[in-house]
């Protein structure tokens, strides 16, 4: 207790705000800037400007993030989230579902993207917005960059055509410099707008004409590039094969011979129409494998001047092959040029061109091969350095031809969501883009400490003598590790003297691996000690599908992932091996982790209506939030009837409920005032903070989770309830943030942060009605629980907060920080709690006594200090959840944020008072001691001689 008090004093003495210094960036933290899994057709190599020689890798990912990646090292050059930031979360979600388009041209300086109703052009070099255009109520169905020259613009500016599907199909041509609409063509026929494409002379609009009870006919309308006037129109009778837009395999390539390719439902024949002629070529598919063809993909070069060759890839469950066809432009015929043999591996093809030549690259699981479209000779073949175990989904390639030899650079996206760069078979970088869809994460529980903790517990329960013998025996047993320890000693000493970090903090639980479960059914382990390198990644979901992970619970050595359908997967945390599975049961909404004693926790699923799935023996209460908007309390032993139920007033809807963290130690139960009196904190681990909204009001209810008693309620008016209202509760305080509009004159308008503290009593030195009782009961007390005395203060903050958490430390002595994600500036910030003290004096300066407490004058506008930014200058985008975890060092708390990017750091809210700083040099210390010892050895005989001489001289 005294030690604790001393530490508390120490923690209180140091300044509470500490900044992340520049030299700590990438040392205490790591950041994975992610794009999301690159989509097929919107990923390509492109030279960012006509003058540059090297190309960048552009992609529009499944998360609708547009980005340019440096193929050299896999770092992000720039990225933009093209879902409109002003949209609400639900709308953004909806927009993410829509197909995105990304087109670029080697001669132009821009890339053009389209998603939803937006078309935007971005500078290819730095990702700055050139123009954007929005057509409400319509969605983009196709987008192409017009390759041909336009006299009104320099050659680097290319116009764009886009097809919009709204009430009617509309083709618009956008000016490449300004984004203005040059012309638009409306298709009034009621056909399904399908695609748009361009040839050197014309623009073609392709629509699907519905034939009742059969299918669709493909209708092709040519448009004048300058005016948009429709010209020639013809219909292909494809109604027997085409059942919908997905049946058409390929439309396109803006080259000299645009094609429409479709196949019949049984994948027996392939039909090809060279646009411009009405003739349909029928190609019989030669399926020698006997297996059912699962997919047919057509690859052709997009370049205007490239050869009119295309490749058709066939894929069955286990094998794949391809045929290359040539189009004769004059005769408008399609002929098979050669066949790429079937392999028993899954492979993907990529098209690249050099001038007019077209090259096809085949990336299979074990090798990469390049062929020219003109002949079947293999130009280059490399076996992959590290064969992938994952199925490749799609790839892009860049081929450099020098004489007879070719060099290949390809970027492959695998089913696991990894993006590999392979250079002539050598593995380059890997980007784990699936991490952008992280749903849940947690730190691994260290298992080496567990044994010691158990031993110590045994000792604690023994008699003094028994405990002594037990300890001696344990120490004797530990002697077996002595030789190893001695062997490691020299290297440990050397590394500790010369290493960058003064103290090796690994043994203090600083570098704990993190388990992350992602949307695509995978589980990753990130090694935080190695800058978040992926230690292992496994497919943990059964089947192909995605999963909706609710929570991850870790035990020493293993982690269990609980999924929304009631199933769970247990993995070994060091190897990633799946240890066990449980079958899906009922759809669950959430999981409660019941940790009654030192034994492993019991996890109870909660149904969507808020009913626990199981009843367990033993004491304890469960609190659930049902879909019907009611908070219910249950005894753990009974899942039939709730003990209490909290329903908000009529018209209000519960949007969020939160409770104190499971690990939330309180170092001091009171707050010492300037006059040395004590304001006792209202500490109740069973507090729940419920947020309910209705119209433009938001109400915050503080409940006792055992009895359901309402302890405190506050209502804010003029709240924009469509924006996130994050809230957090810890220790004896809670905080929430919202966008508030002015209701009355003088009200603040803007983003607000409200912090409220709970005290036992308004008067100091008073422990409230319960007095000094050592325990209390919410249910069986003589009187209902006393309500807390609440002091709150509101601040206007410069930008919205989307999520809030509190830092956790081992004993709670260190001051806490309120961790907030700032979506507007893509940062993570830690606001020190002393700044958010609701007892700050309003309208006057703090008196001497108040200043002694650390209070200072209240200012309604809370500016975010640059020192509070935990993410430093980094662009940490899309964070949805921030986790915090204590370490063995009281000063240090681990932070892990995920959702979009992955960001991890460690924070010292009260400075690193228990770690030696960087200014401390072990080498200098050792050298000083050595120098002093040498000095003593040399001087000692001299001094001794002098003293003896002095004695003799004095006596003579």
């Amino acid at each position: 207790m005294r030690l604790q008090a001393a530490l508390f004093l120490l923690a209180a003495c140091v300044p509470s705000a500490t900044a992340v210094f520049k030299d700590e960036v990438d040392h205490v933290d790591f950041h994975h800037a992610l794009l999301g899994i690159p989509s097929v057709d919107t990923t390509f190599f492109l030279r960012p400007s006509a003058s540059s020689s090297a190309s960048l890798l552009y992609t529009l990912s499944e998360k609708s993030i547009l980005g340019a990646v440096n193929p050299r090292d896999g770092s992000i050059v720039w990225r933009q989230n093209i879902t409109r930031s002003s949209l609400s979360a639900a709308q953004q979600q909806q927009q993410q579902q829509q197909q995105g388009f990304l087109r670029g041209s080697d001669e132009s300086n821009t890339v053009v993207s389209a998603v939803g109703a937006d078309v935007s052009s971005w500078s290819a070099v730095d990702g700055k917005l050139v123009w954007e255009n929005r057509f409400a109520g319509e969605t983009v169905a196709d987008l192409e960059v017009l390759e041909f020259e336009d006299a009104s613009h320099p050659a680097t500016v290319k116009d764009t055509i886009a097809l919009f599907a709204g009430a009617v199909g509309t083709v618009r041509r956008f000016d490449g410099g300004s984004g203005d609409v040059k012309w638009e063509f409306k298709d009034q026929s009621g056909d399904l707008p399908f695609q748009v494409l361009s040839s050197p002379a014309e623009i073609y609009y392709i629509s699907l004409h519905s034939v009742p009870s059969k299918g669709y006919k493909i209708k092709i309308t040519s448009l004048d590039p300058l005016t948009g006037k429709p010209g020639q129109q013809y219909v292909l009778s494809s109604e027997n094969e085409v059942a919908g837009p997905e049946s058409v395999l390929f439309v396109g390539a803006n080259n000299a011979s645009p094609l429409v390719v479709w196949a019949d439902k049984l994948h027996k024949t392939l039909k090809v129409n060279v646009i411009g002629s009405k003739q349909v070529h029928t190609i019989t598919i030669d399926n020698e494998s006997g297996e059912e063809i699962r997919s047919i993909t057509v690859h052709a070069s997009r370049k205007l001047n490239s050869l009119p060759h295309f490749l058709v890839q066939y894929e069955t469950e286990s094998s794949s092959w391809a045929d290359v066809y040539h189009v004769d432009l004059k005769a408008s015929t399609v002929s098979k040029a050669y066949h790429l043999p079937r392999t028993q591996e899954r492979s993907v093809f990529a098209t690249s061109n050099k001038d007019a030549n077209v090259y096809f690259t085949r990336m299979s699981e074990s090798e990469a091969a390049v062929v020219s479209s003109a002949s079947h000779g293999i130009l280059g073949r490399w076996s992959l350095q590290s064969p992938s175990t994952e199925r490749p989904l799609h790839a892009v390639a860049e081929v450099v031809v020098k004489g007879d030899s070719v060099a290949l650079r390809s970027a492959v996206v695998t089913e696991s969501g990894d993006w590999h760069l392979i250079q002539n078979g050598q593995s380059g970088w890997t980007r784990y883009e699936a991490l952008a869809g992280a749903l849940a994460a947690t730190w691994v529980e260290a298992d080496d400490q567990e044994e010691l903790a158990h031993e110590l517990e045994v000792e604690g329960h023994q008699s003094l003598l028994g405990a002594y013998f037990h300890r001696v025996k344990r120490h004797v047993r530990d002697l077996q590790y002595l030789p190893d320890w001695l062997r490691e000693l020299p290297s440990r000493v050397i590394t500790s003297v010369f290493s960058d970090e003064v103290t090796n903090l690994d043994s203090f639980g600083i570098n704990m691996p993190v388990i992350v479960a992602t949307e695509n059914g995978r589980v990753y382990a990130l090694d935080t000690g190695k800058h978040g390198a992926v230690a292992w990644s496994v497919k943990a979901a059964e089947g192909q599908g995605t999963w909706d992970v609710r929570t991850i619970v870790t035990q020493p050595g293993s982690a269990t992932v609980y999924v929304e359908d009631g199933s769970s997967v247990t993995l070994n945390t060091t190897s990633g091996a799946i240890l066990s599975r449980t079958a899906p049961t009922t759809k669950t909404k959430s999981f409660a982790v019941v940790k009654q004693d030192a034994s492993s926790p019991v996890v109870i699923g909660v149904k969507e209506d808020g009913t626990p799935l199981d009843a367990i023996n033993g004491a304890g209460f469960l609190v659930t939030l049902g879909d019907d908007g009611r908070v219910r309390g249950w005894t753990a032993a009974d899942n039939k009837y709730p003990v209490w139920e909290f329903a908000p007033p009529e018209g209000q809807r519960i949007v969020r409920a939160t409770a104190r963290p499971a690990h939330d130690p309180v170092a001091s139960i009171g707050k010492v005032l300037g006059d040395r009196s004590v304001l006792y904190k209202y500490l109740n681990p069973n507090l729940a903070l419920v947020t309910a909204v209705s119209g433009s009001t938001a109400s915050f209810y503080l409940l006792d989770a055992i009895s359901g008693q309402l302890l405190h309620a506050s209502t804010q008016r003029g709240v924009d309830t469509t924006q996130p209202i994050p809230s957090v509760i810890s220790e004896n305080w809670f905080a929430y943030s919202f966008y508030g509009d002015a209701v009355q004159e003088g009200d603040a308008r803007g983003y607000q942060l409200v912090v409220a503290e709970l005290y036992e009593s308004p008067t100091p030195n008073d422990r409230g009605p319960l007095g000094s009782a050592s325990n209390y009961s919410s249910l069986f007390g003589a009187e209902p629980l006393p309500a807390p005395h609440v002091i709150s203060q509101a601040f206007v903050i410069p930008e919205p907060i989307s999520h809030m958490t509190v830092t956790q430390t081992r004993q709670g002595i260190t001051t806490r920080q309120l961790l907030c994600t700032l979506p507007a500036s893509n940062s993570l910030i830690g606001i020190p709690r002393p700044v958010l003290d609701p007892r700050r004096p309003v309208g006057r300066d703090a008196t001497a006594l108040e200043a002694e407490e650390g209070l200072f004058k209240y200012h309604p506008f809370l500016e975010f200090d640059g020192k509070w930014y935990i993410s430093h200058a980094r662009d940490v985008a899309g964070l949805s959840t921030v986790l915090s975890r204590p370490t063995l060092l009281e000063s240090t708390s681990l932070v892990f944020a995920f959702g979009g990017d992955i960001f991890a750091s460690r924070v010292n809210p009260s400075q690193a008072f228990d770690i030696l700083g960087k200014g401390f040099s072990k080498l200098q210390l050792v050298l000083t001691v050595v120098a002093l010892a040498v000095g003593v050895v040399i001087l000692a005989p001299m001094v001794r001689r002098k003293q003896i001489n002095a004695v003799w001289k004095a006596s003579s």
Partner: protein, 178 residues
């Protein structure tokens, strides 16, 4: 064998100086020389004083010693007042000295009065000692006042906060909100 006769210097040392002759006494002493003879004369003259007078004198002296600490009180009070309540090395040292003096004085109460100890004034000396102790206590009180002013006395609620424990709930709730 009889011991040898003592040497001449021993005899001279043990036998008193022969009185000077009249003439010799007239010779003025050399400059800087003071006769020791006069001192022995005064001590021998006070020796035959009456016991009552000695007692009164002793008592007077004892009173002086007993009241000596009271003279320090105003000076110490001013010093303590001036030195401020902050915890600094000087004020801490001064407070330490302030405590050290009286405590030592109290321990040595009897020792301070041993030379005045006599059968006849024992009763009166008790009162003197009591005053002496009181005076030392007053100095101590000054020290305590100072220490209190510096906030070193655990007199406030906050000083005992660390010994108060958190009130534990008998029931425990587990939340399933996320």
């Amino acid at each position: 064998m009889p011991p040898p006769p003592p040497p001449a210097w021993v005899v001279a040392l043990n036998s008193p100086m022969p009185s000077l002759s009249k003439n010799a006494s007239r010779i003025p002493d050399p400059p800087g020389y003071t006769k020791t003879k006069q001192r022995t004369q005064t001590s021998s003259s006070s020796a035959p004083a009456k016991p009552v007078e000695t007692d009164a004198l002793k008592l007077k002296k004892a009173w002086e010693i007993a009241l000596a600490p009271s003279k320090q009180i105003p000076m110490n009070a001013i010093m303590m007042y001036m030195s401020g309540n902050s915890l600094q090395i000087f004020s801490i040292m001064m407070v330490f000295m302030l405590f050290k003096g009286p405590i030592q004085g109290l321990i040595n109460t009897n020792a301070a009065f041993t030379k005045f100890e006599a059968e006849s004034i024992r009763g009166k000396l008790v009162g003197v000692k009591a005053v002496y102790v009181l005076m030392q206590l007053a100095l101590l009180a000054l020290g305590i006042w100072k220490v209190n002013g510096m906030g070193l006395l655990p007199t406030t609620r906050s000083d005992w906060l660390a010994w108060e424990s958190e009130r534990q709930p008998l029931e425990r709730a587990y939340f399933a909100f996320t």
